[in-house]
């Protein structure tokens, strides 16, 4: 009898896990479809275009048409490829993308499995995806693929560090790695107010982490023609695509949980999910906006930016948080220190690493000088 009860309880547990994972899979797939539509529409509007209009009202059926097309396409296996690695790589990428979502809460208690070490779990799984990208580049036996895969490894590992440093600072503030506790800790003062520097670092490094413009170096179309994805087609390519959008959404969701207060907002408790989604989609829109505006960095500039700016600033964030906690200063001192750090970012970017503003001034001065000389010569 006892064994039977145990079995029944076990079965209910298993059924619950399967059902919730299924719900997560379906929900994330819908989100990805919505994101592809949104990105095409937003980019279209930014670029004097309409975006998709033909499939359904406002082109809303376009992602479904794309999905059907991708699934029906022939899945080509390059003859020189390492077949096992070639097939396993997309699975690694997409599974790690999905696994992150197991512990991301969309509302109070609205989570598949809340983990006490949630942040630790997420940062750990974010690194697993890199393995998939490198394997995809290697397995497809294509030079662009290898180049892209190695770029992905270098880029993602470099930008993992500032993300982890900032996450540690947030965990220190909230005194917990549990995402629910972190969100509740931001009531009534959001972390973005206390630690604006952390938000900036997290968002920029997050862009690099998911390979969005201006950090889309490992799958740059004009150089490595898609990088690790170059030999993939059909459903396997779609899987990479799915993982990329899930990761974009995950970075936006994490930024909103760690800094923007997740589901916190005025109104009744059931509005929490709406607030959460509003914040996430606002951040996603910023990601699309950046994509419509900026060119791409070069790999050396990218690495210099990671190691010379982002990593030191990550350490700075940890130090000011530690000082603030140790001496138990009022919260505004942390804001002040954080803003000071932000101005250091500005200083570093503008003067030391890329020196663009100085360069613009210099170019304009030299051009004016040249013009004056030519006018005198005439």
């Amino acid at each position: 009898m006892a064994a039977f009860t145990l079995l029944a309880v076990g079965l209910i547990d298993v059924a619950w896990i399967v059902a919730s994972l299924l719900a997560m899979f379906v929900g994330l797939s819908i989100v990805v479809l919505a994101l592809t539509w949104l990105e095409r529409k937003v980019l279209g509007r930014l670029q004097l275009r309409l975006g998709p209009t033909r499939t359904g009202p406002m082109g809303l059926m376009q992602p479904i048409a794309d999905a059907i097309k991708l699934i029906l396409k022939e899945d080509i296996l390059p003859s020189a490829s390492d077949k096992v690695i070639f097939w396993v790589a997309p699975v690694i990428v997409v599974v790690s993308a999905f696994m992150i979502w197991v512990t991301i809460p969309a509302g109070p208690g609205l989570v598949i499995q809340n983990l006490d070490l949630g942040l630790f779990y997420i940062t750990a799984f974010a690194v697993v995806g890199i393995l998939g990208l490198v394997l995809a580049g290697w397995g497809s036996a294509n030079k662009y693929g290898i180049l892209g895969g190695l770029r992905a490894a270098a880029q993602l590992i470099s930008y993992e560090i500032p993300i982890i440093l900032v996450v540690v600072a947030v965990a220190m503030l909230a005194q917990s790695l549990d995402l629910q506790v972190i969100v509740e800790h931001q009531n009534p003062v959001l972390h973005v107010v206390v630690l604006p520097l952390g938000m900036v670092i997290f968002f920029i490094a997050g862009l690099a982490e998911v390979g969005r413009t201006p950090f889309d170096i490992y799958h740059a179309e004009s150089e490595v023609v898609g990088g690790p994805f170059v030999e993939y087609s059909g459903a396997h390519w779609a899987v990479f695509f799915l993982a990329e959008y899930i990761n974009t959404f995950a970075i936006a969701a994490l930024a909103s949980i760690l800094f923007l207060g997740g589901w916190l907002g005025p109104g009744p408790a059931w509005l929490g999910v709406v607030w959460f989604l509003l914040k996430v989609f606002a951040l996603v829109l910023v990601v699309f906006w950046v994509r419509g505006t900026l060119p791409r960095l070069r790999i050396d500039q990218l690495m210099a930016f990671a190691w010379k700016v982002m990593v030191p600033l990550g350490f700075y964030t940890i130090i000011i948080t530690a000082v603030y906690l140790f001496y138990d200063w009022p919260a505004w001192t942390l804001t002040l220190m954080s803003l000071a750090g932000l101005s250091v970012v500005g200083y570093l970017i503008y003067r030391r690493v890329m020196a663009p503003v100085k360069l613009v001034k210099e170019i304009k001065a030299r051009q004016a000088q040249q013009l004056a000389q030519r006018q005198r010569a005439q």
Partner: protein, 376 residues
């Protein structure tokens, strides 16, 4: 495999990776192929391969009548068709000593300058894509589409116009041309300004192009660079000023020059040239007289006297030269084109010194080659 030829394997060390870019690479601007030896992300050596678009145009010219050759020139530099037609027509006219009606000259200049703007707008779009920015393409193509709509109204075709004739033009402008171009110019100016503003002084674009692919003025002259690639080095050389042809000596315009001869300077020169072309068009529209558009001689079967002539002109990409030998019959004996893209491309290897893989794409984009002209 051509890779096994001895001169191509000598540069390679075991540590290097041989990367074949093109002819089916999205950013080699057509069917150009470059074989790169890379060490990590740095370019060690490079071997260009051209000829994938070779159609034997120069040889075909020897078998065609003079009027028919105009269509072949349309297909050399297929983004600057009017400029190509102009240089060929001028070569034959010079050989025959033909006077072109004043009005035809002005219409030619207006169309050529519009074509220069359209060509440079295409360049802005492609350099944006090469550097990873999608939006400038859309901004600049809007302007290019507007220009091409005007071309279609004038010549009947968006690209392969076949509108210039030896001794003038095929026919006069459409009746509403003045109205169309007055509507076009302000819009075009906005398009140029927008594609300029989103890219030229963008910090990331600057860091990707300033100081990248730089060559000195001496090297540029040695390699026969012309057009924006030469002016980017700081040398003020423009055929429209140095040896004015058509009616270019009647207009007031500047020749923008760069500072260091790098990718950004070449970009900046092209952007400024578009503003100068706008100035030329405005002046030409004011000065344009009425009258016939084709000399009566031009309508007949062309038989230039025996002789040879070399004519040059400033194309959007640089100096185009046409060497024409006539034996007094209705077909040329020999016709040789000096294409600007081909000469500019020859300096690519020089520019790729110490470059990164990502730079190779930007440098090639800043040269703004058209493979139809390189391969002929």
């Amino acid at each position: 495999m051509t890779e096994s030829s001895p001169e191509m394997t000598t540069g390679a060390q075991p540590i290097e990776l041989l990367l074949n870019m093109g002819p089916q690479h999205p950013s080699t601007h057509g069917v150009f192929r470059m074989v790169l030896w890379i060490d990590g992300e740095k370019i060690v050596d490079m071997e260009p391969h051209i000829g994938y678009l070779h159609r034997g145009s120069e040889k075909i010219c020897e078998g065609e009548q003079y009027h028919q050759i105009i269509t072949l020139f349309d297909r050399l530099d297929y983004v600057a068709n009017f400029n190509n037609e102009l240089v060929y027509c001028r070569a034959v006219e010079q050989l025959m000593g033909l006077e072109v009606p004043e009005r035809a000259e002005y219409i030619r200049v207006i169309l050529c300058e519009l074509n220069r703007i359209a060509s440079h707008l295409l360049y802005v779009g492609t350099i944006g894509l090469d550097a990873g920015a999608m939006t400038p393409t859309m901004f600049s193509f809007r302007g290019r589409e507007r220009v091409q709509a005007l071309f279609e109204a004038v010549s009947g075709a968006r690209m392969m116009h076949n509108y210039f004739r030896i001794g003038g033009l095929k026919e006069d402008l459409p009746d509403n041309f003045q109205q169309m171009i007055q509507e076009l110019l302000p819009l075009l100016k906005v398009d140029i300004e927008e594609s300029d503003q989103i890219l030229t002084f963008n910090e990331i674009f600057l860091s990707r192009t300033k100081g990248v692919g730089a060559i000195t003025t001496e090297e540029a002259i040695d390699y026969g660079l012309t057009g924006p690639c030469l002016r980017g080095c700081g040398l003020e050389y423009d055929v429209r000023k140095a040896q004015p042809y058509s009616v270019y000596d009647r207009f007031d315009f500047d020749v923008p020059v760069g500072l260091d001869g790098d990718c950004w300077d070449r970009h900046w020169v092209r952007i400024q040239e578009m503003y100068q072309s706008m100035r030329i068009i405005e002046q030409a529209l004011e000065q344009m007289p009425e009258g016939p558009v084709v000399s009566s001689l031009g309508r007949r079967l062309i038989r230039p006297p025996e002789g040879e002539v070399y004519v040059r002109a400033e194309n959007p990409r640089g100096e185009i030269g046409v060497y024409l030998v006539s034996k007094g019959v209705d077909r040329p004996y020999r016709l040789k084109v000096r294409p600007p893209s081909f000469c500019n491309l020859s300096a690519l290897k020089l520019m790729l010194r110490n470059a990164w893989v990502a730079d190779s794409v930007v440098i090639l984009g800043s040269l703004d080659i058209v493979l139809g002209e390189v391969d002929r």
